[in-house]
Subunit: 375 residues, 2 copies
């Protein structure tokens, strides 16, 4: 049994300047909080989400079965990130499709649905928007900012954009930027969406259609890269879907892995917004704090003053341990306080969302020490 979570929304009438030069105004952020903010507002932990997640990080929605938040195993009363002691905030990013202002909402200037006209948002823009939410909640400084994958990029960016507002940054299964291969997978997914005839240049809402073909392909590609080769072989291997005889068909499902991927693709295409997919993969592509420092990550991270915990997973080939070690090295070069755990887990990138005793223990111990600093 988990606790009951209640989504909230905050309205921001003021203009948010974006990295691209464009801006957003009159936007909403959907968020949730768990636990209680203490008297000096020093126990707040911000959780940043990855590609297809949301502000619903932990707990369940009243009366809704199977509505656990996406990191419910990690966050809650008595859990590694213990909401009996910490005040945890989940926030949905701008451009998403789960409550915060995004491509399916109305442009305040035109009264038309944004669609493809929703401006490109970056990790830095998200962090700026999150900072404003914290201002409204009366939180000057975070006990910790925490995220996995793209969420880890936001956590890292917090330490650079608002160094004085972050005491600890916990960056899980992340990277200082995407490799060419990562960008390549994102690009194929985007091309599948953009070239779907139902995409209509991103204005499919007007046509009453959804580019589901493209979304399915995008999600299938994603799923392959979230899992390790080993875990795929263990879960699916070369198992046939039906019986023992081959059907000899190019279009029917033959292997279990095909069935799994088609199911994941179908499910995703029912709820995820195509423009959001483009925006979020682009935010991943663009993130590169070393870019403004001639590619020198050590110089880029010199601004960070937070204490860090970095965690990576041995079988994660999308955000490999090597990438986390680059961040660790750059922080150590700057004589920062860094802990690093490389978890030997079989599940690939998905491992950061799964129960692994060693991983959970590292997180529990680190957040325990954060909570103790408050006492």
């Amino acid at each position: 049994m988990s606790f009951i979570a209640t989504p909230q929304t905050m309205h921001f009438p003021e203009v948010l300047p974006l990295q691209s030069g464009a801006s957003l105004r009159d936007y909403h952020l959907a968020f949730e909080t768990y636990g209680t903010l203490n008297a000096d507002a020093s126990n707040a932990v911000l959780v940043c989400h990855a590609l297809n997640a949301s502000h619903h990080v932990a707990g369940v929605y009243a009366g809704q079965d199977k509505s656990e938040g996406w990191w419910d195993n990690m966050i809650g009363p008595g859990k590694p990130v213990d909401t009996n002691r910490l005040f945890v905030i989940g926030v949905n990013n701008l451009g998403s499709c789960f409550g915060s202002t995004g491509p399916m909402h109305l442009h305040p200037d035109t009264g038309e649905v944004y669609g493809a006209d929703f401006p490109v948002v970056t990790v830095e823009d998200w962090v700026n928007a999150q900072a404003r939410l914290l201002d409204r909640l009366g939180i000057t400084q975070l006990a910790a900012v925490l995220g996995g994958s793209l969420g880890g990029m936001q956590a890292l960016s917090w330490t650079l954009q608002y160094p004085e507002r972050v005491r600890h940054a916990v960056v899980v299964a992340s990277a200082p930027n995407l490799t060419a291969e990562n960008i390549a997978f994102n690009e194929v997914a985007r091309r599948a969406i953009v070239t779907d005839p139902d995409f209509h240049g991103g204005h499919f809402y007007r046509h009453g259609v959804v580019p589901k073909r493209g979304l399915r392909i995008a999600r299938m590609i994603g799923h392959i890269t979230y899992l390790s080769d080993d875990v795929m072989n263990e879960k699916f291997g070369r198992q046939l879907r039906e019986g023992l005889d081959l059907k000899y068909s190019t279009q029917d499902i033959e292997f279990q892995i095909e069935s799994y991927l088609r199911y994941q693709g179908d499910k995703f295409s029912e709820y995820f917004d195509a423009n959001t997919y483009l925006l979020i993969t682009r935010a991943l592509d663009y993130f590169d704090p070393a870019r403004g420092h001639g590619g020198d990550l050590t110089r880029a991270l010199a601004r960070a003053t937070a204490k860090f915990l970095l965690i990576s997973f041995t079988t994660d080939w999308r955000f490999s341990p090597r990438r986390s070690r680059e961040i660790v090295k750059a922080l150590l070069d700057n004589r920062r306080h860094v802990s690093y755990a490389e978890i030997d887990a079989p599940h690939g990138h998905d491992a950061f969302l799964l129960d692994d005793a060693r991983y959970m223990n590292v997180m529990r111990s680190y957040f325990n020490s954060i909570a103790k600093e408050l006492a």
Copy 2:
């Protein structure tokens, strides 16, 4: 300067029973030969092709610039597979789109284009068809059968289907079957093609269209998996396509890697047949000689009597060295004569087509010894 190659075609009126239970009749095989068959027909080397290659293995076409065969660096007069001493045969597989009978040809029963009705063909079927071609050419036994990737699977299958007809098998960058991850990538590519509205269930020829969107996506996915992460970073990294400033766009090209993939996808969609893509990826999925032996590769390979050379490349994550070592182990368990070279090359799966001095030397030395056996 390479030598001039001349494509030929052989007609087979007789029925070819297929593994699926279906059959083909009245089919053609396109092929090329290089060098001269010796008096006792003992110097023949059959080269089997992979996914998007053909019978045009070496040499150039008269009057056509840049028409080198796909393995022209490996095969020819004085090259590692030396056509001054060996008689080399390249054959296009059934179901392909480069000359042999395939989905764009007419079904002899109906007079209609096969399209999606072209029967599923397997590696074993291809080998049977190749064997008939050799019969016609008067070749009872091959000095060697040689192939990379899917071509390596055919070479391996030759040693099981016609053990007495193969003296040497050279299996490069191959595997005893596909992993779940391999099948998964194939499935995404197939879904992109099949769900393209221009596919029309595989009968797009009748509609005067080509499912180019799907073919582009399929090829982009393929290209990512042919290269290693390292070589992608080295060739493209995070380089922007134009200048130094970001454009902040989700649909325009921003990074060089995007430009490269789109170009490769566009080019491929201009010449490759969509039904052929489905057939060939399915042949890859299905190949699994251990399947009929309860998954026991050692038992499966007990029939093979040829001498083997296996080669793998360290950065090939699609057909990793581990998979070649499975074949080596199964052959050694059967006390077969096996040589194995694991080449430390940066180029991923593509390495088997590229010039690498160590790789070339291993091949040259092995084929030299084959040629010496003839003298």
